[in-house]
């Protein structure tokens, strides 16, 4: 037996797992090897010392007490309400059943449509009746009706109308799904609760009756690994003076049920009952009247891809230069919040009026 084998045998002996033959070989080796003998003797000495350790004595009547406890516990278990795990199990089974049946046996009532590709709009080429003019930031003293009229006189009295996909494509400067039934809501449909918009220093004056022309200097945007040249969006300032301004102040807001995102789907947050102003003030710990927003087509495109890949329909809100809506998409007819009170135009693909 080598010293290495002996060490293994010593461990086996200490663990009470050595065979009789191995024990004899171990004894023979340690009688001749001082190092292995020291190790072996050390283990034996530890075991001998611990063999003299006091044994904990249980308190008297422990067995009887535990038996009584067991009897009581078993009786209680027998009388416990029978439904314990069955409730969540039944709920899970029902949910699974519903999912299976709902996804396979029955046709879906509302098909999730593809979010239209968001593109830099060649809005100047829009047909006049589409009236894609944004609301122009005006003085607070100006009444909301005046805002609408001055910003988009042709759309002020225009009713909600259905426009086919190709018209919308013209308006947006890009293709849209032909099957989509897009609805257009003009600025004249804005409710009376339209908040007055303070002119912000960072907001350039918007031209009436038309979107700003795509800038001469095109920004670059990365989408799907490729870099495209896109028109930069003008910087805007979102007015926070309205107490109920709970809308998103980003260029794109994604709502997943109650909350609105800021800027992009990647940076969502829930206002949770707070107004945007309260939210911003809490974050910045200072009073805020307006906040500048830098809309970013790259963010919008990335968010669009994300939305198209989403398993469930997600309402999409596009905030415009004044903090109101410029586009709205939903397949579940989610009502718009009060905060989207300054829509310039609203697109929906659910076949119904957006408002």
């Amino acid at each position: 037996m080598t010293c290495r084998e002996c060490r293994e045998a010593i461990e086996q002996a200490a663990n009470r797992e050595i065979e009789p033959g191995g024990q004899a070989a171990l004894e023979a080796h340690v009688s001749a090897c001082a190092a292995c003998r020291a190790l072996h003797e050390g283990n034996r000495r530890v075991a001998q010392v611990l063999a003299a350790a006091p044994v904990p004595e249980p308190p008297p009547q422990l067995a009887a007490q535990l038996a009584a406890l067991a009897a009581r516990a078993l009786a209680a278990e027998a009388q416990r309400p029978v439904v314990r795990w069955s409730v969540p199990a039944a709920a899970a089974a029902g949910l699974l059943f519903g999912l299976l049946v709902g996804s396979q046996a029955f046709p879906r009532v509302v098909e999730r449509e593809r979010v239209v590709a968001i593109r830099p709009p060649a809005l100047a080429a829009a047909p006049p009746e589409v009236a894609l003019a944004p609301l122009q930031p005006l003085a607070a003293s100006q009444p909301p009706t005046a805002i609408a009229r001055s910003a988009a006189p042709s759309a002020a009295a225009a009713p909600s109308r259905r426009i086919p996909g190709e018209r919308l494509a013209d308006a947006l400067g890009g293709p849209v799904p032909p099957e989509a039934n897009w609805h257009f809501v003009s600025a004249g449909k804005a409710p009376a609760a339209t908040p007055a918009v303070e002119p912000a220093s960072v907001a350039p004056p918007a031209p009436a009756l038309a979107r700003p022309e795509p800038a001469a200097g095109l920004a670059s945007m990365r989408r799907g690994g490729a870099t495209e040249a896109v028109a930069p969006l003008p910087a805007v300032a979102v007015d926070l003076s309205a107490a109920d301004a709970t809308s998103s102040f980003g260029a794109l807001a994604v709502s997943t049920g109650g909350g609105y995102g800021s800027g992009a789907a990647h940076d969502t947050f829930s206002t949770e009952g707070e107004s945007v102003r309260e939210r911003v003030e809490r974050r910045t710990e200072s009073a805020v009247a307006s906040i500048p927003v830098e809309p970013d087509w790259g963010i919008l495109a990335a968010a669009t891809e994300e939305l198209n890949a989403a398993a469930e329909p997600i309402p999409v809100f596009l905030a415009d230069r004044s903090g109101g809506l410029i586009a709205y998409r939903s397949s579940n007819e989610r009502p718009l919040a009060r905060s989207q009170a300054t829509p310039v135009f609203i697109f929906t693909a659910d076949g119904g009026d957006a408002r």
């Binding site: 530890v46 075991a47 611990l50 003299a52 406890l69 278990e77 027998a78």
Partner: protein
């Protein structure tokens, strides 16, 4: 609702099956036979008589809740050892977190039982035992529990592994390292 009711009926039937008279008698006999052993396991982990009793009671409650749902396990003793060891370990950790001192060492080592008749030899053996027990308490938790269950309670490596919900190879490593520390403690001088 029918599904829910059927599940409830099934559960009730299963429980009635598991908690029949035979099971109750088996549990009663088991508790009376192994109460001392289970208490000692808990006392080895906790080193405190009161805590050990509480741990055994808590473990027994857990065991019975399991039996009520699933019936008697194949090896009730191994099952109970595992439950007691882990309940005791949880109590010890909780006690350590709350800053309570592990008080049992002195209590356990107050009256070492040695068969040596020579008073001088008895004193040396008592000092050695005190030193080794102190070294055990300084061991990492898994080494400490493994060496106690193996050397003090006489469990086999496999039984220790089951009780600690570990593997036999892992337990052997713990035992090896623990013995190494205890050998050093024995070879060292009396700690101050």
């Amino acid at each position: 609702m029918n599904l829910l009711r059927h599940l409830g009926e099934y559960t009730a039937e299963a429980r009635a099956l598991h908690l029949d008279q035979g099971t109750s008698r088996a549990v009663d006999a088991f508790v009376r036979e192994h109460a001392t052993l289970l208490y000692r396991l808990a006392a080895r982990v906790l080193s405190d008589p009161e805590d050990a009793r509480d741990a055994v009671q808590a473990a027994l409650t857990r065991i019975l809740a399991w039996v009520a749902r699933h019936g008697l396990p194949r090896d009730l003793l191994a099952f109970a050892r595992t439950a007691v060891v882990h309940t005791a370990l949880e109590m010890r950790r909780h006690r350590t977190r709350r800053g309570r001192r592990t008080a049992g060492l002195e209590t356990v080592s107050e009256a070492p039982t040695t068969r040596a008749e020579d008073p001088a030899h008895q004193a040396v053996a008592r000092a050695e035992l005190r030193r080794v027990l102190a070294a055990i308490e300084r061991l990492p938790e898994k080494q400490r529990v493994a060496i106690k269950l193996f050397e003090l309670e006489g469990l086999s490596v496999k039984e220790v592994a089951v009780a600690m919900r570990s593997r036999a190879g892992t337990v052997k490593v713990h035992l090896h390292r623990a013995r190494m520390s205890l050998r050093r403690a024995l070879e060292s001088e009396e700690p101050s």
